[in-house]
Amino acid sequence: MSVMAVRRFFAGYLVITISGAAAEKFMNLASGLGFPLWDISCGGESTIFKTGVDSFFELAPLARKTGCRLRIMRKAGWPFFYRRLRRRRGLFLGAGLFVFLLYFFSSFILFIRVEGAETLGRERIMAAAEKAGLRTGLPKSGLDKERLAAAMLLLEPELAWVGINIQGTSLVIEVVEKSRPPAGDERPAHLVAARDGLIVDLLLITGEPRVRLGETVRRGQLLIEGVLYPGTYPVAPLAVRARGEVWARVWYAGYGEAALQEPVATRTGRREVSWTLVADGREVLRLGRDGAPFRHFDVETGKQRLPERIAPVPVELITSIKHELHLRVQELSLEQALALAAERAREQAVLQLPAGVEPRHIDLRQITTGSGQPVRVRYVLETLENIAVVQEIAGGE
């Protein structure tokens, strides 16, 4: 809409039909005298045009002069609309009331929604919300969301967090429930040694200690008995779940040896690849040479499994690569042999180490052998661990 059209709308305009032979003459005269005409269209016998409200009374004598008849078809624009509006006050009031009511009712909470309730259930959270003073029909303004959320947290101890949001006319209570650790196992049990070790520290929470500091224990030995003795009272001993920590020095030993003349295998680079297709546990297809293609070789295999959503039975492609090896004997110096043996012993020892445990002390000892014999090494890792593990008491005490 152009600026001109807006101006015309607010000033108000008339839609006029003009009939008569000299309509063109009338239009020329009118526009020549400075009365703007617009949207002139021809409708059969008569011509329709629009003109400003003020122009009409000036135009009427012109029409008479040119022998034309003017007839107002429609009055349009803001002034006429406003007059109609004033005449139909009820409509105007109704429209106003509608907007007001819409605004008024949208300023209340009409719905309450709960999100994030998994185990507690909506009813329980709604009950807490009601107790905190939250209900439908409250005005949105003046609602202290933070205070309500805090009150709900206090009222419902199973909630970890509460957030209150307003979305239109609905109020959303977002909750996060407390996740509790599973209830402690209360069945009677002993604590026994997980591995051999020397007790260095003992923290007793429940039960009767059955070892002393400095004592060497074997794996499976009873450390803390899950029984409470009543002392001097004449009551039967009570079976409980022993609790505590028993810290012990634990040793892990590895053994390695290395001859002064070590056979060394190196891959020559020649290789033979074969593929095997296995479906449902049975070999279906094999590609490549079978058997032993080289005198010395090692085999590297890889598996690829077809996703089960594609194949109805498990299908696997096994790729095996046989690398040819070249064997030769390597002469080692005593130091080299020692280092090799130590490395092998270390690997063995470290393999036994439980996850997450760091060795505190490392002891490396060469086992004396005669000359010409392989070098032998003992590698001992010492750790400090809590060796107490739970052992249920079968059928109670």
């Binding site: 063109e24 703007p36 005409l37 269209s41 021809c42 011509t47």
Partner: protein
């Protein structure tokens, strides 16, 4: 004779001063947008108007616009804007 002489003189003046000729020579100026709109300035009035044809008087004759559903969008003192499906424009003197 005087008119003819005067006209030549005015054209030369317009060329010399690089003034728009339509002002000096009192000629109509036509602006056409595709076949849908035609703006004519410096006219002398509408001679005939129907849906299919509009004849407009200009300084030296008339301009005839033919087409379909022709509507005079504005008609003011010196300016006339015609809209519709314009099929031809003729100059007659």
């Amino acid at each position: 004779m005087d008119g003819k002489e005067g006209k030549r003189w005015r054209r030369e003046l317009a060329d010399f001063l690089e003034l728009p000729r339509e002002i000096i020579l009192n000629l109509p100026r036509l602006t056409i947008v595709g076949t849908m709109q035609c703006l004519l300035e410096n006219h002398r009035g509408v001679i005939e108007y129907t849906n299919e044809m509009i004849r407009i008087a200009v300084a030296e004759g008339e301009i005839i616009i033919r087409g379909d559903n022709l509507v005079i969008r504005t008609l003011a003192g010196e300016e006339i804007a015609v809209e519709g499906k314009i099929s031809s424009l003729d100059f007659e003197s």
